[in-house]
Symmetry: C2
Subunit: 229 residues, 2 copies
């Protein structure tokens, strides 16, 4: 069946660095966790791995450090990261326009959801900052087999909204979001708010790149989302 | 007088993000300092301002927050940043290859120096990490009228080495280093180690972009620096 051009566009959001200003805090929390395991990784290389699945992160570490991580080490790392992040969490805020953007989409009747490589437990306090109702579609790492850049998270979010993934716009701050969007066959939109450069996001497949949710909100028309139908 | 093609090439290094893995710590230290003044700036926008002169940083803040900073506020901000950074300093390390690269240049008789928008006091512990002799040319903010992207710091470093700036390669991780290099008429080389994307650095004028000092060390030939003459 050919896609119906009148069908609603849905919007699937990444969480950290896209709606919440938390990437740099996650980066330094990972730095602390890795240091405790005597894994000395330059901070920018950690930054470029935020948002990818934990399994792939561990593989990338293997390449860069030359030693494989045991399951116990991975678990210790994840615990240490979660603990270190908690210490930073007080400085974490929604990104400019995030709350307004979500509210506007709801007002317009545009279906939207959140898909994050993080676990439900880590995501919960961030969701609270966004003031979103309990009923919002939120797909976390715990609910799918593979995290980003595999497409599972976004596919599950589209399913939960009752939309075909081809009718969805994926909004993310990292190349992992955009690779997942491509693999899922969704339209990818990048935000600079996670600290990637514009061209990095475009090369990874972003159709458009905006600064932050406020900038995206000002340009909803560019995504074909009409203010009043 | 036409430049003598046989003259030695000198190398002028930025410090934070170029030789020392300290950018993300500076970013979050600024975030804390700004927050204490109730200036709520997304973290990625702070990241993109690291390494520019304090005066320009204050002007950029004025644009983004809409209110001018008094001299007292600027001084409080700087003190709060220095204090917050101290708390992060324990996790700061030289970047991969930084110590080896400087040692190699010294061995080869290539003149080199350091030029940083930071003050002497902030730079001192980072210089200690690099294990450089007291006699090395280090130009800090205190020694020139204008910091980056004005060319003063790099011009002063070339002067101190007794080199024409046209015979110098400027190595930096931020667009501020590369703009200063262009304005000084030096050849600019970018490093990804400060968290900028490759294309951002190229657009700002980087002739080459390497990952970190170790990667630059492996490619010295690309800058015309010969291993043995």
């Amino acid at each position: 069946m050919a896609p119906d051009p009148r069908r609603a566009t849905g919007v699937l959001f990444d969480l950290d660095g896209t709606l919440i200003d938390s990437v740099y805090q996650h980066v330094l929390a990972w730095r602390e966790a890795l240091e405790a395991e005597e894994i000395d990784l330059p901070v920018w290389t950690i930054h470029r791995k935020i948002g990818m699945s934990g399994g792939l992160f561990a593989r990338a570490l293997l390449r860069e450090t030359g030693s494989a991580l045991t399951a116990e080490t991975v678990e210790r790392l994840q615990r240490a990261h979660a603990e270190a992040y908690t210490a930073y969490a007080a400085s974490v805020r929604p990104l400019p326009g995030a709350v307004d953007l979500l509210r506007k989409l709801t007002e317009l009747g545009v279906p939207w959801g959140i898909a994050t490589s993080g676990r439900r437990q880590t995501a919960a306090p961030n969701l609270a900052l966004l003031d979103v109702p309990e009923t919002v579609v939120v797909i976390t790492r715990d609910l799918v087999q593979r995290a980003k850049p595999d497409p599972d998270l976004f596919l599950a979010a589209a399913d939960a909204l009752g939309l075909a993934i081809e009718d969805c716009v994926v909004v993310g701050d990292s190349v992992w979001d955009l690779l997942a969007a491509r693999r899922a066959r969704a339209l990818g939109v990048g935000l600079l708010a996670g600290g990637y450069g514009r061209e990095e996001l475009e090369r990874a497949g972003a159709f458009r790149v905006y600064e932050d949710p406020a900038d995206l909100l000002r340009h909803l028309d560019e995504l074909g989302i009409r203010d009043a139908e």
